[in-house]
């Protein structure tokens, strides 16, 4: 088992972990903003899938990875718009609508993929536009840590920016109030509906971008159900971050590594049934939740519709 510490294994683990972490980072960052505003996006994985599929289609047809990323944001935000209209404006149940969005997104993307690409099974090739030159010459870490593309660094920076916005701007204040005590925000003359709608769209756009990354950089192709429960893991990361955005980086890397263990192990020839290894992230979810259940704090008005004058 000394292979476990070999360069190959570590490179594969860390590199794979980061690739897996990025979609989680974006999705959990978006979900964190929405949760702070009082919207729980059970359909987060659905936004990711929509983003992944449209990003694949656009990148495949135009050859532009940046356009693909943009398409991912648009598709994810479109999914979130449905959520915002039904739950924030019409006050339907967030859990039920969230599940519906997830199921519809799963079904629709599988169907469309089956119709258009089932025969040809095209793939995108390795991403080129997004790379930043010069960093990958450093040994071990160079390969894994610094050969990342721009999206990774943008994501890390974004986590800090979102943290600052939530804490230091009046928009952030409104978002936190909308999730904690919407009636206070309403009485202060700020629209709860608008605040929650924007926060939800933010969750959709970022989750969609995460899905796009998964397809363009991670897998190089779209396959049905490609997100494999990442949406739920991202929700858990958002909850454990307790409203402090930079913590999503820690959570995303932790879960990203547990996702990439499977690939890394196979690479060095350790043969464990993949079914077991693929359970790992979810085992980690359960363990983390048991250990840190007290740590997770959810806004008081999370998943509760706000109707003026009703308690």
């Amino acid at each position: 088992m000394s292979d476990l510490l070999s360069q190959d294994f570590l490179t594969a683990l860390i590199a794979g972990g980061l690739v897996a972490a990025v979609p989680l980072l974006y999705a959990s960052l978006g979900e964190l903003v929405a949760e702070q505003a009082g919207v729980l996006n059970v359909g987060l994985g659905g936004y990711m899938l929509l983003g992944a599929f449209l990003a694949f289609v656009i990148t495949y047809n135009t050859g532009s990875e940046w356009l693909g990323m943009l398409a991912g944001i648009v598709a994810g935000a479109a999914g979130a718009l449905v959520m915002a209209v039904l739950c924030v404006r019409m006050n339907l149940d967030q859990i039920v609508i969230g599940i519906a969005i997830l199921l519809v997104a799963e079904g629709a993307t599988s169907l469309l993929h089956g119709a258009a690409y089932a025969e040809s099974r095209p793939s995108l090739g390795s991403p080129s536009e997004l790379a930043i030159p010069g960093l990958k010459e450093i040994p071990i870490l160079g390969e894994s840590l610094f050969s990342q593309n721009a999206i990774v660094y943008i994501g890390i920076a974004l986590a800090f920016v979102v943290g600052w916005v939530l804490k230091r701007t009046s928009a952030g204040l409104s978002i936190r109030a909308a999730g904690e005590r919407p009636e206070a925000l309403d009485a202060a003359g700020v629209s709860v509906t608008a605040t929650r709608t924007w926060a939800t769209l933010c969750a959709g756009g970022l989750a969609g971008l995460g899905g796009a990354y998964l397809v363009i950089v991670g897998a190089g192709s779209f396959t049905p159900f490609i997100t494999q429960g990442s949406g739920f893991i991202a929700i858990v990361i958002a909850m454990l971050s307790r409203g402090r955005a930079p913590w999503t980086i820690v959570g995303a890397v932790l879960f990203g590594l547990s996702l990439s263990v499977a690939t890394a192990l196979q690479l060095i020839g350790v043969n464990i049934q993949t079914d077991y290894v693929q359970m790992l992230p979810f085992v980690v979810v359960i363990v983390v939740l048991v250990l840190f259940a007290r740590r997770s704090y959810l806004p008081s008005a999370l998943a509760l519709p706000y109707v003026r004058g009703e308690k």
Partner: protein, 537 residues
């Protein structure tokens, strides 16, 4: 507060305001006039339409008819923002602070509506300015949820005045959570604010507050303005003379028969209660402790005794552990330490049902939440705590006739106004729901009952009925523990009054004239510090 207090005309006028909700005419052609430098007291019972009227003023509701004039100009207040822009600030009865935000963050919420960076420096300046005006003693960085209720209310007042150029301050039942000392403080603050040229609307259901704090009084009844007193009417008349006039406005022809009940609300005075025969110690709690948790107030070292035939009160500002104590006694919570004894039998480890079977009952203050199931009918709610038990259920099937007959008995005895026992309980008024709850807990052979805020939110007549029921039951040997935030009520009802503050019993006093002040002191005391615990006078 830049207005000119000498301006002659009214600052804000409401004419013919009408607002209907499904089934209720909440405001029926109401007029109201506010002047700078004056406190206008808006008086009325629960449900008289006070809250609706100020919701219209603060932009939460839009009136169906009527007009609002601000400095003589007709205005439309179609959103909270519009009200704020006119300089109308509101302090709602249920505090609307965000507990997880700091005081300063709460104050800045929505302050310029934009999305830009928060201007902490100028916000701190404004905080210091208002802090001087109101005499507050907490820091701007303190977490709002960690402040005492009186302080939270000060934050609310600051929030209402936050924008430069506030003209109107609306206070909705501002005294409901204050100690007598806090009341005095509010009174001083109001003087300051009036001097600053602010027009204040003070909503209250307590007559003596309206007379003491108001420069002008308007009385609402069932959505209509039924009378008002101008400053000239208020000056130079004795309080009892004014009370009599206002009581007549509030209750019309029924005024005479209600004089007694109103007395309790109006002028707190210890009345001679007939001495009851006290029996053995019925309920005893010793050294109860509970850990504080999310939304749960911790208790430490709580001890009490209630004898058969005795009414013991628990005074204190809401949220100081009264509800937790009641739930520990009822068996809905488990203490970390300590014991609950019922006639010397240790019931600490028994569940709700077993305690109930032994004659220990609890009347919750959460009538619509844990007290009743809104979608079930009156009859089913009457047997809610006996589901599955004989004679109402046999062999697992419900016996409707038994249930209905039992419920009809309760409805008769407690004068619950309901079309029938098959009516959904959610359609009943708060007073009638409370009567049914009382009837339910009094049925069977209760030996000790904990009443949690039994008259909260009830109209004067129903409140007096409830108190009378408790008195009668105690006369027949019941041990009653009454939790209330209204000192007047406890003084009216109880033999002894214990005071809770921050999860501890800070003292216990025999009921005697002038006891209110001592209770007030105990309400802000900590056990063992300053005011000696134990019985006095």
């Amino acid at each position: 507060m830049t207005s000119d207090p000498t301006s002659a005309g009214p600052l804000l006028e409401l004419h013919g305001i009408t607002k209907a909700f499904p089934g209720v005419l909440a405001n029926d052609r109401v007029d109201l006039e506010l002047r700078a430098g004056e406190v206008h007291a808006l008086l009325g019972e629960n449900g008289a339409g006070k809250s609706t009227l100020i919701s219209i003023l603060s932009g939460m509701y839009r009136p169906d008819a009527g007009e609002i004039r601000f400095q003589g100009r007709e205005v439309e207040i179609d959103s909270p923002r519009a009200a704020i822009e006119l300089g109308i600030g509101t302090v709602y009865q249920h505090l609307t602070l965000v507990p997880t935000l700091s005081v300063l963050e709460n104050l800045m919420l929505g302050s310029h509506g934009g999305t830009g960076r928060l201007d902490l420096a100028s916000a701190n300046d404004r905080f210091a300015e208002l802090a001087r005006l109101l005499g507050v003693d907490f820091a701007s960085g303190a977490r709002a949820g960690a402040l005492a209720l009186g302080q939270q209310q000060q934050v609310e007042i600051m929030k209402a005045l936050w924008r430069q150029g506030s003209r109107v301050l609306i206070l909705d039942e501002p005294t409901s959570m204050l100690t007598p000392q806090g009341y005095e403080e509010l009174r001083r603050e109001l003087e300051h604010l009036k001097d600053g040229g602010l027009a204040v609307v003070l909503i209250t259901h307590k007559l003596h507050e309206a007379i003491e704090l108001g420069d002008r009084v308007t009385v609402l009844r069932a959505g209509r303005k039924v009378g008002s007193l101008a400053p000239d009417d208020l000056r130079g008349r004795s309080e009892s003379e004014l009370s009599a006039r206002i009581v007549e406005m509030m209750f019309g022809e029924q005024a005479a028969e209600l004089a007694d009940a109103v007395e309790v609300e109006a002028a707190p005075a210890a009345r001679e209660s007939p001495r009851r025969e006290l029996g053995a110690v019925a309920l005893r709690v010793r050294d109860l402790a509970l850990d504080a948790d999310d939304g749960v107030v911790g208790l430490s070292g709580v001890g009490l005794e209630v004898r058969a035939g005795e009414i013991v009160g628990i005074a204190g500002v809401d949220g100081n552990g009264q509800r937790e104590l009641a739930e520990l006694i009822a068996g809905q919570r488990r203490p970390r330490r300590g014991e609950v004894l019922l006639f010397d039998e240790d019931v600490t480890r028994l569940g709700v049902r077993e305690r109930e079977a032994r004659g220990l009952r609890y009347v919750t203050d959460d009538r619509l939440g844990e007290g009743t199931v809104g979608d079930l009918d009156v009859a089913m709610n009457a047997v809610l705590k006996r589901i599955g038990r004989a004679p109402f259920w046999r062999g697992g099937t419900e016996r409707r006739e038994e249930i209905d007959r039992f419920a009809e008995g309760l409805v008769d005895r407690f004068d619950v106004r309901t079309p029938s026992v098959q009516t959904r309980i959610a359609t009943l008024s708060g007073g009638n729901v409370q009567k049914l709850l009382l009837a339910r807990e009094f049925a069977g052979e209760p030996r000790a009952v904990v009443f949690n805020k039994p008259t909260h939110g009830l109209d004067v007549r129903t409140a007096e009925f409830v108190r009378e029921q408790i008195r009668e039951a105690a006369g027949a040997g019941l041990a009653a523990l009454v939790i209330s935030t209204e000192i007047e009520e406890l003084v009216d009802l109880c033999d002894r009054i214990a005071v809770m503050s921050r999860g501890e019993v800070t003292g216990e006093v025999e009921n005697s004239p002038g006891v209110e002040e001592r209770i007030g002191a105990l309400m802000v005391a900590r056990a063992g510090a300053g005011v000696p615990a134990g019985s006095a006078s």
